[in-house]
């Protein structure tokens, strides 16, 4: 059986499935249950400064969007960092680490942007025996209005500065958690790297309003008739998170910087995708808030069976394997020409492919043949966009087939070239070079 043990910036855990800093990791009670269920590690719910804890709203804190059958697809929250006493949290962290020495216990922190505040909290956290710290530069609501969370995460200079303070004042590994509420994720990642971070973790939640009540005109979740934007997470954010992870993984300036992947991870497959794009491990929040801690059993068995089938014996054999496959658009092969093909035996004749193509794309799917309802791709019109494949309700009924070099593309009347050629050398590109630039 595949070996799932994980070594992330020197922190060892029996598997790469950790819980993200959030309510599931707010108390010893929850964390004990999580470890019993099999989770490899936790990022303890974000701690703040000593003193009176923050207060949360007392009305609803979460909102959601659902797919058919009320499957939860995306969730948002307006919760703050832990609202429990610092000392209580520290006591519990110490006990948990003692009780579960083989699991990773990393403490998430958020204190004001002053070196003294960090100098005060780091030693007391270190004293618990925790394996590391995660700097919460991501929280997009409430804390950011107080100059913390994403207010720091949106300014690369602050990230670098605070990271440096932490590195100077503790020997624990420092993981910097990034906010996705920026324009280019590479800048905050580079700043963390420059500040000496041992790793980055991403993504935190995305600024969002999930819905508006059309009677009260209040955004949801509504607290006494008003709502504020909250942090979006769950399956819906996975594509955004995957891209951000990939952007950092392939940025030469942060090459080799370990990444802990977060955002919408629900199954072993999601986890494997994050890892393929360069995440050394993954963190999960919404999925356990939806289904409970037990889902980790599926993640462990799924990842392990997949690794067995693919012949991977340890995790590092596939971490980052997809990174070289992520390219800039301009380097994609323009001589790779595909056409949609409808399998007539599988087709149930719903017509969705036709109308999608007819109304919104390239008028390349006929709806009739010999007076009968019949859907077939016309190769002389098909640009190979994939829309019909995506809207078809039957899996594998429509597939994209690549044209072999040497045949004629009926749409352009040109022979398909066998050589790779991209935009950088394309005749239509005013800035085209003579030779492909890769």
């Amino acid at each position: 059986m595949a070996d799932l043990t994980n070594n992330f910036v020197g922190i060892k855990s029996p598997n790469p499935f950790w819980l993200a800093s959030a309510p599931p990791t707010d108390k010893a009670y929850n964390v004990t249950r999580a470890f019993k269920a099999g989770w490899g590690g936790v990022m303890w719910k974000t701690l703040g400064e000593d003193g009176p804890p923050v207060v949360n709203v007392n009305g609803p804190r979460y909102g959601a969007i659902w797919g058919g059958d009320r499957r939860l697809l995306g969730m948002n929250n307006i919760e703050l960092i832990t609202d429990r006493e610092l000392q209580v949290n520290l006591r519990e962290i110490k006990q948990i680490k003692k009780d579960w020495p083989d699991r990773a216990v990393v403490v998430s922190l958020m204190v004001p942007c002053e070196e003294d505040a960090w100098k005060a909290i780091l030693p007391v956290v270190e004293e618990t025996g925790a394996d590391g710290i995660e700097l919460n530069f991501g929280c997009p609501h409430g804390m950011s209005e107080r100059g913390m969370g994403s207010a720091v995460g949106q300014v690369p200079e602050y990230i670098e500065m605070v990271t440096r303070w932490c590195k100077a004042n503790t020997s624990m590994p420092v993981i910097v958690k990034l906010t996705p509420n920026i324009t280019d994720i590479r800048y905050p990642a580079r700043a963390a790297h420059k500040g000496g971070a041992d790793a980055v973790s991403l993504i935190n939640t995305i600024n969002s309003i999930v819905s508006v009540d059309l009677e009260s005109f209040s955004p949801n979740p509504s607290i006494d008739g008003k709502g504020s934007h909250g942090g979006y997470c769950g399956p819906a954010v996975k594509p955004i998170a995957l891209n951000m992870v990939a952007e950092i993984a392939r940025d030469p300036e942060t090459a080799g910087l370990p990444i802990s992947g977060i955002g919408g991870i629900t199954t072993w497959r999601d986890a494997a995708e994050f890892m393929a794009l360069g995440s050394g491990n993954v963190q999960v929040c919404t999925a356990v808030m939806t289904y409970g801690f037990k889902i980790v059993e599926e993640m462990i068995s799924g990842l392990s069976n997949w690794m067995d089938e693919e012949g991977y014996t340890s995790i590092d054999q596939f971490v980052g394997k997809a990174v070289p496959k992520v390219s800039d658009w301009q380097y994609l092969n323009l001589n790779h020409i595909t056409k949609a093909k409808i399998n007539q035996d599988l087709c149930i004749k719903c017509g969705r492919c036709h109308i999608a193509c007819e109304d919104t794309s390239h008028q390349a799917i006929m709806a009739q043949k010999d007076g009968k309802r019949h859907f077939e791709v016309m190769n002389d019109e098909c640009v190979g966009c994939n829309l019909c494949v995506l809207v078809c309700p039957i899996e594998d009924c429509i597939v994209m087939e690549a044209l072999e070099p040497g045949v004629i593309d009926e749409r352009t009347g040109k022979v398909v070239e066998k050589d790779y050629a991209n935009w950088t050398t394309h005749p239509n590109n005013p800035a085209a070079a003579k030779e492909p630039a890769e």
Binding site: D69, Y291, G292, K294, E297, E298, S301, G302, N305, I394
Partner: protein
């Protein structure tokens, strides 16, 4: 239709072979991948799931369904086999509508439970197709255990014992192993020699020897086994059939439903199986339904099940009863057999008496009805051949056991249909065999259990 179907009396070949083949095909064709994924998505992954509790083997149903939905089908199969090594057979034969699916919260919410049985079949079929083996034997313990009966109880017991590193010998009186999986279950629930294929798949773990044609009480006694083995498990099922207590039941044309089904299951040519034109099946359980339905599928023109109590009291589930009626079987209630009518020693009909409940007791009303028939099948329940008990305490004619399957005799465990307190289902036999194995393991390895 062909005119053979109209032949009077008991005769073979009522239907052409092509029709027989169609009639005896898989009752539920397996789910394809897309269907399985759509169905799996319907599972809510309930906490402390009612379905799991309702399964006698307590399979972690939400987990295996989630594994199917993430494409981890072999993981799903392993989750199933961990609890129920005959999960493939159970997926086909369990009356899920009175077990896991009855309590599915989707049943509660919308009257449409997740098709747990079909999903279980999807996962276990794939594992067997790929011959994915999930269990290995622990280091040899040097302990030897005798299992009597190669039915679901015996096989489940033997497999679990083998995983713990014990050596098991199974003795079975018949010349094929599998018990009622091989000789009893309706053909259309277990097509293509599934029982033997499963047996092979399960015993591939090693450490299990099967001795066929070896009958307890004829070829050896429990005392013999106790002398030669460290522990004994008895899983002999119920060989005997209850008497009809109707006049003339020895007439030619009166037969045991289980024997008829066994012949049917063992034949390699259905057109050679003889069946009457007009059939009466007496009983209200799964056996009655299976005999009636298969008689109909063989080409009997009229098949009537007569049951002495009402619809509610029938042991056969709602689904089974509906299956019978859609196949054209007539089910009549509140009728008990009184006298087999014969001419020249052959069955010509059955006289039945109407019954009713009086003060909680079933009573004949004195009025009778007569139904023509040329064949009558008795499906009024089986019993334990008590000479198998050999000194074991019995309750209600079956072997008494505690919750770990221990009998009244030190060193002898029992499980399946032959013990008291079960519900005569394959899945229950599996659970009891497995749990007895754990108890035996504990006892042999010095744990106090």
């Amino acid at each position: 239709m062909g005119e053979n179907i109209l032949k009077e009396g008991i005769s073979s070949g009522r239907l052409p072979p092509s029709q027989l083949e169609k009639n005896f095909a898989d009752l539920h064709p397996p789910l394809d991948r897309h269907e399985a994924l759509v169905e799996a998505e319907r599972c809510y992954f309930c906490h402390d799931a009612p379905c799991q509790e309702a399964c006698p083997t307590e399979i972690d149903i939400p987990l295996f369904i989630r594994e199917i939905s993430t494409g981890n089908v072999l993981g799903a199969a392993k989750t199933i086999f961990n609890q129920n090594i005959l999960g493939g057979m159970c997926a086909r034969v369990c009356p899920t509508e009175t077990l896991c699916e009855e309590v599915c919260v989707r049943e509660e919410a919308e009257g449409k439970p997740v098709k747990i049985g079909h999903l279980q079949r999807y996962a276990t079929d794939m594992a067997m197709e790929r011959n994915a083996q999930f269990f290995t034997r622990a280091t040899d313990t040097g302990k030897r255990i005798a299992v009597v009966g190669a039915g679901p109880a015996g096989i489940a017991c033997a497999h679990r014992l083998s995983t713990h590193g014990h050596d098991v010998t199974i003795f079975d009186a018949r010349d094929k192993a599998g018990g009622l999986n091989e000789y009893g279950i309706a053909s259309y629930k277990t097509v293509d020699g599934f029982a033997q294929a499963e047996l092979e798949y399960v015993t591939a773990i090693g450490g299990i020897k099967i001795e066929l044609g070896q009958a307890l009480g004829r070829d050896f006694s429990l005392d013999d086994l106790k002398k030669k083995y460290d522990a004994v498990f008895v899983g002999v099922g119920m060989g005997g059939v209850n008497a009809l207590r109707a006049e003339g039941e020895d007439a030619q044309g009166v037969a045991d439903a289980v024997d008829f089904i066994a012949d049917l299951r063992q034949t390699d040519d259905l057109s050679k199986i003889e069946i009457g034109r007009r059939i009466i099946v007496i009983g209200g359980g799964m056996t009655a339904i299976d005999a009636a339905v298969q008689a109909k599928l063989l080409g009997a023109e009229e098949v009537t099940i007569c049951y002495r109590r009402g619809h509610e009291e029938m042991n056969a589930s709602e689904f089974e009863q509906n299956l019978a009626t859609t196949k054209g079987v007539v089910v009549r209630h509140w009728l008990q057999p009184k006298k087999v009518l014969t001419a020249e020693g052959k069955v010509t009909g059955l006289e039945l008496e109407y019954t009713e409940m009086v003060d909680g007791r079933l009573k004949g009303m004195g009025h009778t009805a007569t139904l023509p028939a040329d064949q009558i099948f008795k499906a009024i329940g089986q019993k334990l051949d008590t000479h198998h008990a050999q000194g074991l305490e019995l309750v209600g004619g079956r072997i008494e056991v505690d919750e770990n399957g221990k009998t009244s005799r030190q060193g002898i465990w029992a499980g399946g249909d032959c013990v008291a307190g079960g519900d005569d289902l394959t899945v229950t036999a599996v659970a009891q065999g497995r749990d007895a194995a754990e108890s035996i393991h504990g006892a042999l390895m010095g744990e106090t259990r």
